[in-house]
Assembly symmetry: C2
Homo-oligomer: 301 residues x 2
């Protein structure tokens, strides 16, 4: 008898319900004016893969906890992710009109609203976490640790966007070194935060399991971003729901641009092995996270 196949997307209904619960209470619980609540809801509830809340959920399970304990963290990280997309899409930055097959928020509303809604979502991420402490669903000490982890990941993400959009301090460094630094910060840091925050929500997390999960998160985050770069090179806009080939058009540094598509595929395989090794050390509880990380590294859209 073989173990039943694990579907890493199983927690999606609970994650989506938590996001919808938040958007339903933006006015009454958080005081948002209706126009702002609409903008935040549009940005947060658009079609998305909820990768970061899923990572937090499965990391919590991998660390021996109930996945649902990760939901406040998952919602907070998704808010930060959504904020970053809204601001990155602005005309002064990536100037994108479409995102996930829909108009970007500044095209849907206005540039002013997109700036303010992004600021709102970033702040709301911290408020959502810290309110849970007030409601005694998390200890104040855990809430402070989670918020600090979230702030660290968010800062690194912004640093990555600065380097990617406005240039690196030393443009003469090797291309691979530059692109790895940008990816580790722009995408990797929030994936790392998602996994660590999820794990920290488990009462039975240990230093050792957190170390393995952090190393796995760093490897899977880089594999995910390399796979994303490959998709941008090889897919059509119709398939991924946003403009493609755009990285090259913008002169942005990508992994395929630095080392070629073939070497990218080999690097993804190497990173998958690193991920598997660290997750293997955690026992069968990590199977969901392993299945999710495999999907991220091999996705085709």
């Amino acid at each position: 008898m073989t173990a039943p196949a694990i579907n890493p997307l199983d927690p999606l209904p609970e994650i989506d319900a938590a996001l919808r619960r938040l958007t339903a209470t933006l006015g009454p619980d958080f005081g948002l004016p209706p126009s702002l609540a609409d903008a935040v809801t549009y940005a947060l509830l658009g079609p998305g893969k909820r990768i970061r809340p899923l990572l937090a959920w499965h990391a919590c399970v991998a660390a021996g906890g109930e996945g649902a304990r990760s939901l406040p963290s998952g919602v907070a990280i998704e808010l930060v992710h959504a904020f970053s997309l809204v601001h990155d899409d602005l005309p002064a930055l990536d100037n994108d009109d479409m995102r996930r097959g829909r108009p970007t928020l500044h095209r849907h509303t206005s540039e002013a609203m997109a700036i303010l809604a992004g600021d709102e979502m970033l702040t709301l991420a911290f408020r959502v976490l810290l309110r849970q402490a007030g409601a005694a669903q998390l200890s104040p000490s855990l809430a402070a640790s989670l918020a600090d982890e979230l702030a660290r990941g968010t800062l690194a993400m912004i640093h990555g966007q600065v380097l990617d959009t406005l240039g690196v301090p030393d443009p003469s460094a090797p291309a691979l070194e530059i692109v790895r630094l940008i990816h580790e910060q722009k995408t990797g840091a929030l994936i790392r935060a998602a996994v660590r925050m999820g794990a920290m929500c488990s009462d039975s997390v240990t230093e050792d399991s957190l170390t393995h999960l952090t190393a796995a998160a760093e490897a899977m985050g880089l594999a995910f971003q390399i796979a994303d770069d490959l998709l941008d090179v090889e897919s059509s806009a119709e398939e991924v729901g946003k403009a493609t080939g755009k990285d090259a058009a913008l002169g942005k540094r990508t992994y395929p641009g630095a080392i070629g598509a073939e070497a990218c595929r080999a690097e993804i395989q190497r990173l998958r092995a690193v991920t598997a090794q660290h997750l293997g050390a955690l026992g069968p509880g990590a199977a969901g996270l392993a299945a999710l990380s495999d999907q991220l590294a091999t996705r085709t859209k």
Copy 2:
């Protein structure tokens, strides 16, 4: 023998030193790329009155604490205040070229950098507070409470900017009601947070003193904003270092526009009496905060 006159600006050197300590460690401690560290430093260390860190300091003293205990909170609030100015000045919002007698950040650098530096300062505010808990200068529980208070104030400030820039849900409401709501949120909420956070940093704060300080903060915040509106109407640009008469030009709602300059001056006097009454209940420790709030309500530039 009379009591020595209190100069509420006495803590300014310690506040400025704390801000400079932060900007000196943006690279090594927080990982900012040099260009981003320069932008944050420009926005944070420009000529400013440091009103919110001063409020936190004097509120801490009023609640029986050492003023210096408020410094992490004061730095965090100043970061949020500086972030809000940078984003509010953007072309899509107030489109201001000058601030405090210097080019605004997006004129000094670029719009992309101003958006990202604002995001950075907002996130950094939470990280500064929560790191103090890690360094054991604040208990994790206090750090979580302070961060929650900061998030609440920041959300309300953003809501006020949405209402001010993009319109209120019911434009047919009485003008005074609308302008009071906008001021309470856009300016008042962060002043309230500054006072409450400062007080919470005192080990000997009580529920009763926090209630009086909160009520005093709400009154002084509104008086401060009405005085600011009057200044905009009555001063020249040279005196205040930024464009004046601009509120009216932008069709923004102001207190003088709603009730006239004479009634504004009467309302400021009424609010000063409310502030004095609440601070009077706290005893002589509140003298610094009382002197500061008087300066805010009677400033001429």
